[in-house]
Symmetry: C2
Subunit: 454 residues, 2 copies
């Protein structure tokens, strides 16, 4: 047993306690009443970095929630790694669906239940603990390391975007590690090399100057809810095809290798996906495999429709205004700004006469592609193989990590997305959890990754 | 000046105070927290009837809100009139759009502002005051009168339906007076001879077993909100044509006289309607005149869509369940039960594979047609001419008064719908009001109507 392995094994219990301490702070970034918790959670991360021996470990104030920064740059001639994580968490509604209180870390079996257990306090803490273990055992780190942790990942991430764009010189590095993703299964190590971008929009339709009664005006009045239905049905058909001219133009066909992998080797995932959803068939573009649809195709979803009467019973209102929240996921070659322009034009084109339509972009972020054969990716792959017993698969992910695109574009370095979450971790839902064995293996894997980066 | 006229003139101020007292009781029938107010409002009506000299004036308990009944049957050989009204009111949301508190009767100019000012406490009270005036001045009424007031008009009206169907013998009469409608303008007396029926439905769509994240499942998961958009867009096109096979089969073409009246003599109403809505053009079936669309065509409206995320900002949820509130207005020859069957079949046909769709009927009621040349209609017309200075026009109305259809069918008598509401009375909306001059003229007109019924 190496000294490093011995140290980690010996300290697993304390590592878990350090995570629990962080988890108990309800650092919900979208709720103003948790502002003090946000600061406590940020300071907790600063303290962790200080104890490890990081220098200039501190809070960086922003116009929103503070960033956490620390650096250890005492390995001249070695590459520099920038570690990213976030200390903020999602709200906990509906609270009554939680089996134990959302901010009381609770162990059941191999799992630690708590809001943030995985996303992203658990995954950030395991990187801290890999750094601590290396530093304690060796008195040094194998590479230079900067750490930048944000507190607005669940709230738009504006502050980190502003900071990275205005101070790229303070973040000079050769590679970025983001530990905020997952693996398809416990025994299936994976590295993300592609993420989709996103635009999230709000479409507002205005009809009459006031709400009207359907008995008096039904048949002659504009109905903004009906208009939204016509727009939404016109944007995407029941077969999942998006009818936005130009949107598919820049979608790059996946490589033959990718397609073979998705459509043949990953076929067994389909059953898991159906089970997770509790449905008997996939919807969407039947001419593409489910993996290709999630990872490499533009998709459009409606998230909510606002307006009119939504209580119990009957009210005969024709609302004056309605809104829909609609997002598009975009493969890396489709840029968010262009997609928004095409979307806005199409929405206005679909709107019938007699209503006013406004389209707002609530947020946008680009997709990312990192070549699997780049040295940092290969270092990560070797580390995963060491602790999970098999070669990782290289996968894309359907979600969006705007910060990954930010680092990729502004710092112009490869971004390694290596995370240890599992599909049943209930991110953003009640009973979020993190697997203890994934947490402990993650510490070892990240330590190994750092050693292989030199 | 007749004695009656003198009495009414002298007592206008008190009549208004009696109405205000009733209006101050927030008898919202759909909100359980107002259950006590419902009883107070009902008892207020009983007290009014008792003071006038009605016999057996009392509350009739039901499984819902109580009915109010009273009778005066001391005119042997004379016809019997059944008076209908309702003491319940609509909710007041959004409260912040009211210029004065919704249950504080406030006079500005010729108008009395308050929830229920018109619908229907104001219009019911004016009938009470006509009865009181006749009784006080003459010591008797010109005809026999029964009064039946309900407290669930805004909440489905189940109790009165049950009562009328099970006890028609207690309501024996020759004609019904419903004072719950309006006139197109202050100087345009009108009698309603046709009402549309209605079905109000809730369409529920179920997709995955739980809410999903659009990053992980966007492109393969069923989206119940998108399904609703497809269903709603499939039910009615942008041109207002309803695509429900069979729905138009039984729609009777209006008579040549009706069409001439609507399309030529009533053309000037179009400008008023556009102004009321604050729009520059009508939507709906362009091949029919606005009047024909509202009064004689089936129309379909969406009132609300439930599901997903409707807060500020962005949440990437694909909801597991969504619901839409959709109603159809039906001309008298289209029966509500058949329309519901056709609607349900069409909704299910429009639903794409991979979701479960359920259609519930929240309420239903038939349309009504009463011949303008029947004696009670002619009595009403003469009364209107007396106080509004010109022959009333005979119009239909786009709304639905299920209770009119109920009386029409079960009691098998003509139903006179003579009301004094105005198009800008903001029924069911913030700042509901009633014109004071309409209230006072209404008292005189109803008194005249009763004298002409003999």
């Amino acid at each position: 047993m190496t000294q490093l392995e011995a140290y980690i094994t010996e300290n697993e219990g304390r590592f878990l306690e350090d995570l629990k301490g962080w988890l108990r702070i309800p650092s919900i970034s979208t709720l103003p009443e948790h502002a003090a918790d946000i600061w406590r959670a940020a300071q907790y991360a600063v303290d962790q970095l200080t104890v490890i021996g990081f220098e200039r470990a501190r809070l960086i104030e922003t116009s929103g929630h503070p960033l956490v920064y620390g650096e250890w740059l005492k390995a001249p001639g070695k590459p520099t790694l920038l570690v990213y994580g976030h200390y903020d968490v999602q709200p906990v509604d509906p609270v009554d669906l939680w089996h134990t209180p959302p901010f009381e870390p609770t162990i059941r079996g191999d799992n630690l239940y708590c809001r943030g257990a995985c996303d992203d306090k658990g995954q950030t803490m395991l990187v801290f603990k890999a750094l601590e273990s290396l530093m304690t055992v060796n008195g040094t780190l194998p590479v230079n390391v900067r750490v930048l942790i944000e507190g607005e990942e669940e709230a738009g991430g504006e502050s980190i975007e502003h900071y990275v764009k205005t101070h790229p010189e303070r973040l000079g590095c050769d590679v970025v590690l983001i530990c905020d993703t997952g693996m398809p299964a416990k025994d299936l190590p994976a590295l993300i090399y592609g993420l989709r971008g996103i635009i999230y929009t709000e479409v507002e339709v205005r009809g009459a100057k006031r709400d009207l009664h359907s008995g008096e005006y039904g048949g002659i009045a504009p109905n903004p809810l009906h208009t939204l239905a016509i727009i939404i049905a016109g944007l995407k058909d029941a077969g999942g095809h998006i009818h936005i001219p130009g949107l598919y133009d820049k979608v790059r066909k996946p490589t033959t290798e990718e397609l073979k992998f998705w459509n043949e080797d990953m076929l067994h995932i389909n059953g898991l996906l159906l089970e997770e959803m509790g449905v008997s068939q996939f919807t969407g573009e039947a001419e593409y495999s489910p993996m290709e649809r999630i990872w490499a195709r533009p998709t459009l979803e409606v998230h909510g429709i606002i307006g009119g009467f939504t209580g119990e019973g009957a009210k005969m209102v024709i609302p004056a205004v309605s809104k829909a929240k609609i997002s598009l996921r975009l493969p890396p070659d489709v840029k968010s700004e262009e997609a928004f322009m095409l979307f806005e034009r199409r929405v206005k084109e679909l709107a019938p006469a007699g209503v006013e339509v406004k389209v707002d972009k609530i947020l946008g972020g680009e997709g990312v592609m990192v070549m699997p054969d780049s040295p940092p990716m290969q270092a990560a792959a070797a580390a995963l193989k060491e602790y999970f017993g098999k070669e990782p698969i290289f996968i894309r992910e359907g979600g969006s990590i705007p910060v990954a695109a930010l680092f990729h574009e502004v710092l112009n370095v490869p971004v390694v997305m290596m995370g240890f979450g599992l599909p049943d971790d209930n991110l953003h839902s009640p009973n979020e959890k993190y697997s203890l064995s994934q947490f402990y293996k993650g510490i070892r894997t990240v330590a190994s990754f750092l050693q292989r980066l030199t």
